[in-house]
């Protein structure tokens, strides 16, 4: 081919994928993805701050305070999980459950929140937790450091809404996340906050493509949050948190599972809707 033919061929090839994509222009995704990173950075700042207080309480041997700070500290991680779990090593050392290890609680590699949870809520003691607290603090600082420099993959951000709801549906409704502290509803709400943030950022673009979809998702989010709200300790004070998951009756667990599953399915189409498949 002559040079100009190369050029024409290259130009045609370059345009084809554009033509095949959804009506949403890739440029339109830049703003919401940047906004999402700012949301994650804000939450990380809070996460570092709360982890400092939580680990200080553990290290000071203040069982009561450490127990009280466990759930309110975790929420910041649970909100930004689509990004946080991109770092496989830190996700394991910060948030793995005992089931992820062959020797369970006794496994020497089992660290992080759930190891500390076991000490605080099962052993009812801060004894021997110092090393875990120190490790958690340094892992959280390392996470903060890595996320600052991270270019967020657009697919991960948009797909993150569904990932969070799938996680709730698959492994949280069962109450296995915070099995000793029974603070599952805090995590639950945090996962929903994180998913809803993503959905809200892309909602104007999604609405251009499918207004019914947007309405359905919003309604389901509202349903879940309404059920969750009945378990708030103080309706006027979100910081007061939630009752123990043991208090959530079977009917309400079902009432949560239904819309959560539908949300996970609906939100899994968001990537395609925005031309990111």
């Amino acid at each position: 081919m002559k040079p100009h033919q190369h050029l024409i061929a290259a130009a045609t090839l370059g345009l084809l994928p554009l033509a095949a994509q959804a009506a949403v222009s890739p440029d339109a995704l830049v703003g919401p993805i940047a906004e999402y990173k700012l949301y994650v950075l804000d939450n990380l700042e809070q996460f570092v701050d709360h982890t400092e207080k939580f680990t200080a309480a553990v290290e000071a041997g203040d069982l009561h305070n450490a127990q009280a700070l466990y759930a309110p500290t975790r929420v910041y991680y649970e909100r930004i999980e689509p990004i946080a779990e991109l770092f496989a090593d830190l996700d394991a050392s910060i948030d793995a459950r005992e089931d992820d290890y062959e020797q369970g609680v006794k496994d020497p590699d089992f660290t992080g929140f759930h190891r500390i949870e076991y000490g605080l809520f099962h052993e009812h003691s801060t004894e021997d937790l110092n090393a875990y607290a120190e490790r958690l603090m340094s892992d959280v600082n390392e996470l903060d450091h890595r996320v600052q420099d991270l270019t967020f993959p657009p697919e991960t951000v948009v797909g993150g809404a569904a990932a969070l709801m799938e996680e709730v549906a698959a492994t949280k409704v069962s109450g296995e996340e915070d099995r000793y502290s029974r603070t599952d509803l805090w995590d639950f709400q945090a996962n929903i906050d994180g998913a809803r943030e993503i959905f809200t950022l892309f909602k104007p673009l999604a609405a251009q493509e499918d207004a019914d979809f947007v309405k359905r998702v919003d309604d389901n989010f509202d349903d879940v949050e309404t059920t969750l709200a009945t378990y708030r300790v103080d309706a006027d004070d979100p910081d007061a948190g939630f009752e123990s998951y043991d208090e959530v009756n079977k009917n309400d667990r079902r009432a949560l599972a239904g819309p959560v599953t539908v949300l996970a399915e609906d939100l899994s189409t968001l990537r395609g809707l925005l031309g990111l498949n």
Binding site: P17, L18, V30, L38, D100, E102, P154, A163, T171
Partner: protein, 411 residues
């Protein structure tokens, strides 16, 4: 993290006795081992791609096969959960998860498609305590040109650049505010320190600010560009502030200038909040601002410390852009990346050296800034050998301006 469910077996009346269960489990395990053995034997070094792609069995003890080799490109894996609990399967690049399939229930199979470039990856295999598998991605021998970049490839880098810009702007706003307050308080020393902080950020943002010629002119144009030079009524912004603070040693007469600068930074913020920066402007813009710095300095034998300080800010801004475009360059034109990185590293190193030289020679003129911070360096009058930095800045400008061709970007 996504977790495997605990292995709670539902109890029902039809549950066989534990002994029977154990026997059944043992025999099925034996059968599985035999099947796996046959399967392993049938594996070639490179599995041929099939409709279901490459099969990975995850057992209670790890991945089968433990080592997998696939050709580069879009590849499909089918993960078969042969353990008794829900698992996830991930492809990990270093410590980053590249692709994952979560919550695969026992006995089920799930597909996962990932776009893979040549290299070595890790596979997670069920329990975190299980040994990890390795995935080797071989070059697929396809020597054709890499697929042309499309707008979608720039979403990530442009979003990250926007975050960088917005965060820098927050700092710029507060530093210009501090400069404003110091000028109004007639505090020369504080004003000088605030000027340097603000100016450093202004220079980091030279590329996006350069998108708006009116603002750029008001904030950054040197006196030479005005008919009446220093005494021109339109001469303002950072250069005008610097003239008073550093050449004339006074904060007087700066109030109108700093008021205008505060206003211009606000306008900049509003504009950048919804500005779409064209991808080609990233490399072109940073090449242009470095070249402009070079061209302005080229006639001088020595650089003033403030010129050096400006270059440090420009280099930081360029470094961010290089880090954003590097992954794309690596994909499209890998040969262009090492020289670009070298040029950047050389400039950074020579800047660090110049700063060190400059600080060590400026003991008498540090004034109140005894720490040897930026203010001490800028207040010193030592000349800096300009030659190296001129060469470095021009070399980086040239490499940057070659990026768009390598990425097949125009505009």
């Amino acid at each position: 993290m996504t977790h495997s469910a605990p292995s709670s077996t539902p109890i029902s009346r039809t549950t066989p006795s534990p002994r029977l269960l154990r026997a059944g489990l043992a025999s099925s395990f034996l059968l599985m081992l035999i099947a796996l053995g046959v399967f392993a034997l049938s594996l070639q070094a490179v599995q041929p791609p099939r409709a279901e792609g490459f099969i990975v069995n995850v057992t209670a003890g790890g991945c089968q096969p433990e080592q997998l080799e696939v050709p580069a490109g879009q590849r499909t894996f089918t993960i078969v959960n042969r353990s008794d609990r829900a698992i996830e399967w991930e492809i990990i690049d270093g410590v980053m998860v590249l692709a994952e399939r979560e919550n695969i229930a026992p006995g089920l199979r799930q597909p996962l498609t990932a776009s893979l470039t040549p290299g070595d990856y890790i596979m997670t295999c069920g329990l975190l305590s299980n040994p990890r598998g390795t995935l080797h991605v071989a070059p697929n021998g396809d020597t054709s040109q890499p697929k042309a970049l499309v707008a979608r490839d720039f979403i990530g880098p442009l979003a990250e650049y926007r975050v960088y810009t917005l965060l820098q702007l927050r700092q710029l706003t507060s530093q210009v505010r501090a400069l404003h307050d110091a000028i109004y308080a007639d505090d020369l020393h504080t004003a000088r320190a605030a000027y340097l902080e603000a100016r450093r950020i202004d220079q980091r943002l030279a590329t996006p600010i350069g998108l708006f010629s009116d603002l750029d002119q008001r904030m950054n144009a040197h006196a030479d560009y005005f008919a009446q030079r220093e005494s021109d009524p339109d001469f303002g912004g950072f250069p005008r502030v610097a003239l008073s603070l550093f050449e004339r040693g006074t904060t007087t007469d700066l109030k109108p200038t700093i008021d205008r600068l505060v206003e211009d930074v606000e306008t900049l913020k509003t504009r950048l909040e919804d500005a779409a920066i064209p991808p080609a402007q990233l490399a072109n813009g940073s090449a242009r601002v470095l070249q402009a710095w070079h061209d302005r300095q080229v006639s001088q034998a020595t650089l003033s410390p403030r010129d050096l300080f400006d270059l440090a800010g420009l280099t930081e801004g360029a470094g961010k852009i290089v880090s954003l475009l590097a992954p794309l360059l690596e994909r499209q034109a890998p040969g262009t990346l090492p020289p670009l990185n070298d040029d950047l590293a050389t400039l950074q190193q020579d800047l660090a050296n110049a700063n060190a030289d400059n600080t060590s020679g400026s003991d008498d003129s540090r004034g109140n800034d005894a720490s040897g911070g930026p203010l001490a360096r800028v207040e010193s009058d030592d000349g800096i050998d300009a030659k190296r930095l001129l060469q470095d800045s021009e070399a980086l400008a040239k490499s940057l301006s070659a990026i768009n061709r390598a990425l097949a970007l125009s505009g």
